[in-house]
Subunit: 117 residues, 2 copies
DNA sequence: CCGTATCCCGCGAGATACTG
DNA sequence: CAGTATCTCGCGGGATACGG
């Protein structure tokens, strides 16, 4: 794809240049050491429990996982459901908004397969 | 796109789960406050001079711009060419590897248009 | 089991001044 | 013009211990 094709497809409205990169806010939302890996694991298996995520993202700490999940929830990419059983059970799943990131992941993966050895 | 379609298209090799998210290393490469905006500006106009980039990314400092450009160059997303004139002229341009990120930007923009008000 | 509450530390980024 | 050289500061994330 050339930039001209890109511009034509996306529309010029959000392509004003001068620092108004339309991509930046989205990537900001995905920034942080763990967010992408969490979303990725939730793509593979959904829903997942807190402890399950913690196990799969092995060196992650409680604090980091909690914070990342909270931010993802605030951005409506992930949904938290708490079941008041004993012992407590909490499940995290992707929202539609979160699942719609799959084409983005796909594009990135394609690029990675071409350029990452 | 469902995850099953995703898996089929990308191939299961890199989809091992257990923390091996294929997307993460790519986004790591794009991380930093300014890298994406630099790439984006270079999509719009290429090549650009140091001072030109600095003007367009207004509140950026010399240090930040220099560091970001160095890292982008190390990752072979951007090429630096120096002309030993007086006064000095340096031009930055996207490499093919960098230009090939456009489909990624496109996917992200599509998502953004759907979900960012 | 699923977190919160602290404390701590390093690193990315800002500010400012200076150079080939 | 296109950077480099320092210094500083804030905050994201790690470690550990405790609470509902």
């Amino acid at each position: 794809m050339t930039y001209e094709e890109f511009k034509e497809k996306v529309g010029s409205v959000i392509l004003t240049g001068e620092g108004n990169c339309p991509v930046t806010p989205v990537v900001q939302m995905l920034q942080g050491k763990w967010k992408l890996q969490i979303l990725y694991e939730l793509c593979i298996k959904c829903p997942m429990r807190f402890g399950e995520l913690k196990k799969v993202l092995k060196p992650i700490t409680n604090t980091a996982l909690t914070n990342a999940l909270k931010e993802l929830e605030a951005d409506e990419l992930v949904q938290r459901i708490q079941y008041n059983e004993m012992p407590l059970r909490v499940e995290y799943s992707l929202t539609e908004k979160g699942r719609d990131l799959l084409p983005v992941f796909y594009a990135i993966s394609q690029w990675g397969m071409k350029y990452i050895p």
